[in-house]
Structure formats: C-alpha cells, structure tokens
C-alpha cells in the first residue's frame, strides 16, 4: 500500500527502523494532495513549506539517535476553526477570510509537542454549522468514495482528507455530531471525547457548552495515539476537566467478554435506512459472538434531542458570533455611514445563510418574552436527555447505535430544507447535549458507501469505547478499505 494510505503507527514503525524518513512521508502526502485535491477540495490552506521544514527537523532528531514520540513526523490536517499561529484560520467564513491568529490553540500546541507535521487547514461548514460541508463560505468538499456525494459535516474537510490519503490523521470539532457523522460518511474512525477532556482554548467557539475537539484516524490504534496527544487539563480553558489521563493505548484489547452493551431502540427505529439497520444488526451480532452481552434498552427522550439542540446551539452561537463586527479582525464592509451601519453591513455581507439563520433563531429564542418558552424549556429537556443516559449507564458499559441515519447523501439533496438537513445528525446530537464521549468506526458498506457504527460511553469512558472499537476492528476489514480515486 502507498505510504499516504498507511496508519500513523505503521509509519512510526518504519520511521524508527529508518526504512523511511519523515520527509518521504511528507512528500508522499503532498504528492497525493497534488494528485487528488482538485477532486476532493479538502483544504482551505496548505502549509507545504512549513511541513517539509518540520519533517526535516524530525529526521534530524532520528538521525541524532533521539527517541521520538509515536506521532513524530506524522502529517496531520487541522480543521480551520482551530487557531494556528501565523497560519490563517478562516472557519470557512468570508468574515474571517484574512484572520491570522497570533497564538496556537492548545491542541495545536500539543500536536506540535508530539512531533506531528501540520499539512494544512481543512474545509468545513461555516463556523461548524452544517451536516454536509456544503455551507462552507468558499467551496464544497467531495466524499472520496463518491465525488457526487457530501463528506458529511461540519468537519467534512478533515474526514475527507484522511479518507483520501491527503493526511494521515486529522482534528475536527463536534458540536452535534460533526466528527462522528463525517467519519461515518467517509469510512474513517472519528471520536468526540467527553466534554472537558480536550481543551477548547483556541477553538473558534460555536456553541460553547457542546463543542469538543477530537481526532479522525484510519484505525482505532491511531485514535488512541491522537487522544494521548490532545487530552488533558488546560488552565487556559475554564471548562477543561482537571483529571489524570490514562495511556489510551493500554485500552486496546481484543476482548469484550462480559461487557454489557445496550442498543437503544429509539436509534434503530423510524427514519433509519433499513440497510444501515442491517449493518448495525450484523455488527451487534459480531460483538455478541465475541462475548459481549447485548441487550435492547431505551433512551425515551431521544426524539426531543433534535429540537432541544436546535434551540440551545443557535442560542449559544448568537452570543458567540456577536464578536464579528469588523472592528478588531476579519472582514469589514467598505461603505459604512457610521459604526452601527458598519456592524450591520459587515455581518450581513460576511456571514453565509446558514449562519444567519442560526443567529436569528438563537436571538429569537433568547429574546424577551420567548426565553422561557424556548431556551429555558430546552435546557430542562436537556436534563431529561442527560438523565436517560445516566440511567442507561447504571446498567450498561457502552451504548451502540448507527452514527447516521443513512450513508452519505448526494450534494444538494438537502440544502433546500434546513430541517431535513438537521435530521442528518439525529443519531449524534443527544451525546453532545449530555457531554458523553462517542466514537464512530467503519462497520460495513452499502452500495460502495461506508456506514458508521457509533459507540457511546460513560463520561471519561473513552478507554472502554476504544476497547470495544478495537475488538470489532480486529475481526473485520472495513477500516482497511480505501476509496479508488
């Protein structure tokens, strides 16, 4: 297999045996980008010179006999909503098209400390609002498995980059499913850690009580390595959890004997494609044959997750996005009469339609007279949704569900109807509302399109998720399949 399609741990083995160099890995990935990026359009910005300089630095360390960390020399793509010092960070929005941060997000600092090589910044739905990467203010990203289809969203650029061999691993952010859903659509592993497990410092905020950064990888081992690199308490983020982080690679055991896995019936009912249900049924059967105890369970408030999410997330977004006024950074209109006119014109010209829709919805839900009926009500239902999970986890170690109701849909298929588009995240939203960790792994294919299985864990139960995912992976080959491009 070509270098650009290997995993990080396979490349590390070759690196330390000096069979390849970090520069060769870097060249393989950039040659691949040159070959397929016109079709995929995963990147907003490429950092080629910087990447080669960094790769050569890693090679010098190896040549000097220094021990290098497991991710040293590994090309990584970063979603364009994480601040990168000296490299523009646009959130795929016209309003931030020229923003060059003077500092790094904590995750970027951590990946640099781990020796990774940043390839570039990936395309996304504007300000992470969307389920298909069709809401980017710049261009649409294609799904590597079928170029007519979407890669999922909002981290579609990151997922597509890993699936197409344009990066070995990537970072995304997940507010309502924006790592897991594109991971499922693109046939890669995507993990949303427990809220607070990974610092959000330097992540451009969308909905602060829901956003969480996590990795895209080709297999579960790489996912554990990425998690090792980015997890941990950060004093710069007041919502970062002060906990000791285990070595997640120690959780990679081919063993699910005695683990209790619940399958919520609400995630296998109406609205889920029958072919997806069949694949999830087969996956469940495999885990049962390997010794897991599988039982149907219920999360009775699941059907309320979508409306709850679409009141809370826009409310937080309307507040977070108030900072884009053209004063300190980003786009500013050219023909303002006075400062208020400048705010209005800058925001109206800079934001795209989905962002405006959510700002409007959030402003309405928070406005006098409607706050109790919409926003406060949603916060109360959020409690009920969280209680469902708490009850389920009194009995089960892990919950299992589809990641998305269908495989990747066609470009333009849902753009005319926001509610239909919002339904794409129906299997993932509740996990964010409750702050739980969730992972999506490739579980099968329908008509050549990947289908993801979602495993949901207790808070800070990433280790158990990795164990179940790793076991499944050892007995299947879906994660080894690659799209032909």
């Amino acid at each position: 297999m070509e270098l650009y399609y290997l995993t990080a741990h396979e490349l590390h083995d070759l690196l330390v045996k000096k069979e390849i160099s970090a520069e060769e890995i870097c060249r393989a990935v950039f040659d691949r980008i040159d070959a397929v990026e016109d079709k995929i359009k995963a990147y907003v910005t490429l950092t080629r010179d910087r990447a080669f300089a960094r790769a050569r630095e890693i090679d010098r360390k190896i040549a000097a006999g220094e021990e290098v960390p497991p991710l040293a020399g590994i090309p990584v793509a970063i979603k364009d909503n994480m601040c990168t010092r000296g490299v523009r960070t646009t959130c795929s929005s016209k309003i931030l098209y020229n923003f060059v941060p003077p500092y790094n997000a904590t995750v970027v600092e951590k990946l640099e400390a781990a020796g990774t090589v940043m390839v570039g910044k990936t395309n996304m739905d504007e300000f992470a609002m969307g389920s298909s990467t069709e809401n980017s203010g710049f261009f649409v990203t294609a799904n590597p498995w079928d170029l007519e289809r979407v890669p999922g969203g909002s981290s579609g650029g990151s997922a597509a980059a890993v699936a197409a061999g344009e990066a070995i691993t990537a970072l995304g952010s997940d507010t309502g499913g924006s790592i897991r859903q594109p991971a499922a659509f693109c046939g890669v592993v995507g993990l949303k850690p427990t809220y607070g497990a990974v610092s959000r410092y330097g992540l451009v905020a969308f909905a602060s009580s829901l956003d969480q950064i996590g990795p895209f990888t080709r297999d579960v081992t790489d996912c554990a390595l990425m998690l090792n690199a980015i997890c941990g308490h950060d004093p710069l983020d007041s919502t970062s959890a002060p906990r000791d982080i285990p070595d997640f690679t120690s959780c990679l055991r081919d063993d699910v004997k005695g683990l209790k896995i619940g399958v919520p019936r609400e995630y296998m009912g109406e609205g889920i494609d029958p072919a997806v249900k069949e694949i999830i049924g087969q996956a469940t059967g495999l885990l049962a044959s390997l010794g897991a105890e599988i039982e149907e369970t219920t999360l009775p408030h699941s059907r309320y997750a979508l409306p709850t999410y679409y009141l809370i997330a826009p409310a937080e977004a309307s507040s977070n996005l108030a900072r884009y006024d053209g004063v300190r950074y980003g786009y500013r209109t050219e023909d303002a009469r006075d400062v208020v006119d400048m705010f209005m014109k800058t925001r109206s010209q800079g934001f795209g339609p989905e962002v405006k829709r959510r700002i409007m919805l959030g402003t309405y839900a928070l406005s006098a007279g409607y706050y109790d009926a919409y926003y406060l009500k949603a916060l109360k239902v959020r409690t009920l949704i969280k209680q469902d999970f708490d009850r389920a986890f009194e009995k089960f170690d892990v919950l299992l569900a589809p990641t998305a109701p269908s495989p990747a849909f066609k470009r333009g298929e849902k753009t005319g109807d926001p509610l239909q588009m919002y339904m794409s995240d129906i299997c993932t939203l509740a996990v964010n509302l409750a702050g739980m960790p969730g992972i999506s792994i490739p579980a099968g294919f329908v008509d050549g399109l990947p289908v993801g299985m979602q495993l949901i864990g207790k808070p800070f139960g990433e280790g158990t998720l990795l164990r179940v995912a790793y076991t499944f992976e050892q007995h299947t080959d879906y994660h080894r399949r690659r799209p032909s491009l």
Partner: protein
C-alpha cells in the same frame, strides 16, 4: 407564529441587515423550525432543573500578577483599520 415584523426585529437585535427575499425566507424557515420545536411542550418540565452545562462549573481564579501579553502590534495586526495603538472605526455620532 413568526411574522416578517418579528424577523425584522430579531435581525436588528442581531445586527443583521436582511434583503426582502431573506426576510421572506427566514420567516418561513424559522416558523418551520419553531413549529417543530413545539414538540418539547409534550413534556411536563415544571420540576426539572435546567442543564446549561454538563460540567459543574466554578469560577477559575489566577494570581493577580503582572504577566506577558501580546505586543500591541500583534494585537492590532488583524485589524481592518488602526491609528497609533488603537482600533479605528467610523464615526459613532
């Protein structure tokens, strides 16, 4: 039921200037979304406390010490318009 007037009011609060076409579109779309959200009223939440955040948040304090901060030129580097060490904006009154 949201009217165009409501949309105009919310747009003003959000500092957004909408075209007539956008007003029509958002009126229709916000109505559809909020109508869907009505399903939350099926639930009695009188005695349910709200969850604004899943972590037990508390204020985080640091020592009141003089530290390093970004140099003014870096702070101003992204600004559309500056004068001296200030962000420059159009007239306010």
């Amino acid at each position: 039921m949201i009217t165009i007037k409501d949309v105009e009011h919310v747009a003003l609060l959000a500092r957004l200037e909408l075209s007539e076409e956008e007003k029509q579109m958002y009126t229709k779309q916000l109505n559809a979304i909020l109508e869907y959200a009505q399903m939350l009223n099926e639930l009695n939440t009188d005695d349910i406390p709200p969850t604004a955040h899943v972590l037990p948040l508390k204020n985080v304090w640091r020592e009141d010490e003089v530290g390093e901060h970004l140099p003014p030129e870096e702070v101003l580097a992204n600004a559309p318009e500056t004068e001296g060490q200030f962000f420059k904006v159009p007239r306010i009154v």
